[in-house]
Subunit: 119 residues, 2 copies
DNA sequence: GGTTGACCTGGAGCGCACTCCAGGTGGAAG
DNA sequence: CTTCCACCTGGAGTGCGCTCCAGGTCAACC
């Protein structure tokens, strides 16, 4: 039952302390355990969940949708089909982002070649 | 010398009219020609530039940097090396974005497989 | 020539996702 | 024991990139 101090979580997840508090406040993170003094002590599970959050966030999922996902997770195993649906939809959007970026990158590279050719 | 009305430009570029006006206001778009009534009449060149803007914007370039690029373009051909440098830097960031998305996508897909396996 | 609708301007407002601040408590190192 | 630093809360503020609005002008079609 390892626990992590706020500073450790900041270090490991790359989220700022303010962001962690913000995520807890809006319910993206379930209420975090506290020590006697009221300071946060994050669990292994919290760390794992924050890893998921980072992944979804970095792939452009809006907070509102992460919140829906968080609620599904908290609601229990019967929501697994819904979670799959949500992640699959997101996966499609991520694929779209990647394809779009690759196409735009081609344009940028053409532009660079063009500039090189007129030097 | 074809010219385009605001509505046509909205249609072709996908930018809203407000966004076009905003881009002109901040100087991302050079002052657009007007007809006698003061209404905008966009040139072929404006359309081309808007295509570049769309590409840079969709690959996550901040407006401040697009502005620097716009200034280089307006400053004349002697800035071409600087433009190449700017686009190459951006290209590297785009590659980073793509790599990151691909990696995150793997995580999402693992998560989906996991959920499928426990159904 | 009337009406509709595209367009104009300057400026305020918005949504997102944080980020910062004031004012305070608790714990740990020397 | 004191000093310092991590941490706490509620709430205000920020930055980005638009987006909307009021109040008005033109123009084009019937």
């Amino acid at each position: 039952m390892t626990v992590y101090t706020p500073a450790e979580v900041v270090e490991e997840t790359g989220f700022s302390l303010d962001t962690l508090r913000y995520y807890e406040k809006i319910g993206l993170l379930a209420p975090v355990d506290r020590n006697a003094a009221g300071q946060r002590r994050f669990s292994e599970d919290d760390l794992g969940w924050l890893g998921t959050i980072r992944c979804l966030r970095d792939t452009g999922m809006p907070i509102a949708q992460m919140l829906r996902f968080a609620e599904l997770v908290r609601a229990g195993d019967h929501t697994i089909p819904d979670r799959i649906a949500l992640l699959e939809e997101h996966d499609i959007r991520v694929r779209g982002q990647i394809d779009n970026l690759i196409e735009r990158q081609r344009y940028i590279q053409h532009k660079i070649s063009y500039y090189r050719s007129v030097l």
